[in-house]
Amino acid sequence: MSLVFDAVLCLVLLAGALGVVTTGAARPAVIAFIGYGLLLGLAWVRLAAVDVALTEIAIGSGISGVVLLRCVRALPAEPLTPAPNRMLKPLAAVVSITIAAALAAVVLALPEPAPSRAADVAAALPATDLGNPVTGVLLVFRALDTLLEKVVLLLSLVGVWALSRDPACRGRPAPLSPEPAPAPSAFLARVLAPIGVLVGLYLLWAGADHPGGAFQSGAVLAAMGLLLVMGDQIRTPAAESRGLRLLLLAGPFGFLAVGFAGWATAGVFLGYPPGAEKAVIIAVEVAITVSIAVTLGLIVLGPPAGEERP
């Protein structure tokens, strides 16, 4: 029976993806994309990857939806592209079906038994005192990836801010809505956001032993911040604020500092001090959660609009 469920889920997922790419107009395509992200989250659950499902639902569907809807508003009503060549669509279909068929053949030819690092992770996990293997991989075994990813997040924020009209990048990002928030949005922000912050902190706390962790928690916190901005409960933060920049840098640079300290305490870059692994890992996780939340929120809000004229 579970196989039937999987098959139905796959078909609905494909229908959603086809809906996104075949809908001509921008707004319906973005709405379909939000639904597609939701279905992808369900698919991850069925693949026993709950950590990934949480990330996909929070980032792939939730926050991406805000960014994309915002972009649709800024686009002109009808794009000024010339009518495409009549041969384009059939040709594109042939190319994509060929690629999909080749990949399907690869999937069918995956080696048996499947290669796996699960046993290695299980053997090394007790040394970290963590119960969640994915958190262990992210913060210990492949910590360099995670560190570099923090840098990518920061760089992408720098890229977004570089598009500001103010060369010095001062001021606040434009609010998400050009008008005051309607009453229901304000109500949601007042009631739902505190609960959401609680859920975000719970995911961080649970992340050591159960699915969850810094990414999921940071994404939820960022989403709640955006909800507060949309409900006019808080203003968008000023880009030149020192506190804000400190929060942005706390994660990557805190992680980097721990990494360098690893040479002194554990004899290797990104090593954790023996005996205090879990405490240091959790400290790093808290720092990067804060940075992820603030960075994601600011990336969504967009470039600062320049200094305010009183």
Partner: protein, 106 residues
């Protein structure tokens, strides 16, 4: 195990959808969406590799899972940057169409 295979085939089909969207989308936003769907398909195939590698008491191999989580966040960064560029481009084009007299923030 066959459930994982189904999702693998779905991932391959999603990549196909993404490529199709990338090639035929009329606007830049459509291409960004197509690219995201392509990425989703690739991640799903990673997920299948993880699921097949289940063992040692884990429901799925944690290493590909961690890679996918990183990948989702990086894909989001790229999307957001592309969208920000697109918004700015539209503002610049609109200003140029008006003769550059506007000073409005989008």
């Amino acid at each position: 195990m066959t459930g994982a295979l189904l999702f693998g085939l779905a991932g391959a089909a999603l990549v196909g959808c993404g490529v199709y969207g990338l090639l035929t989308a009329p606007g830049a936003l459509g291409r960004v969406l197509g690219f995201n769907i392509l990425g989703g398909g690739v991640f799903l195939m990673f997920g299948v590799v993880a699921r097949r590698g289940a063992g040692a008491g884990f429901g799925a191999d944690p290493v590909p899972q961690a890679l996918v989580i990183t990948g989702i966040v990086v894909a989001f960064c790229a999307t957001a940057l592309a969208v920000a560029l697109l918004v700015r481009l539209c503002a610049v084009q609109a200003e140029a169409a008006r003769g550059g007299d506007g000073d409005k923030e989008t």
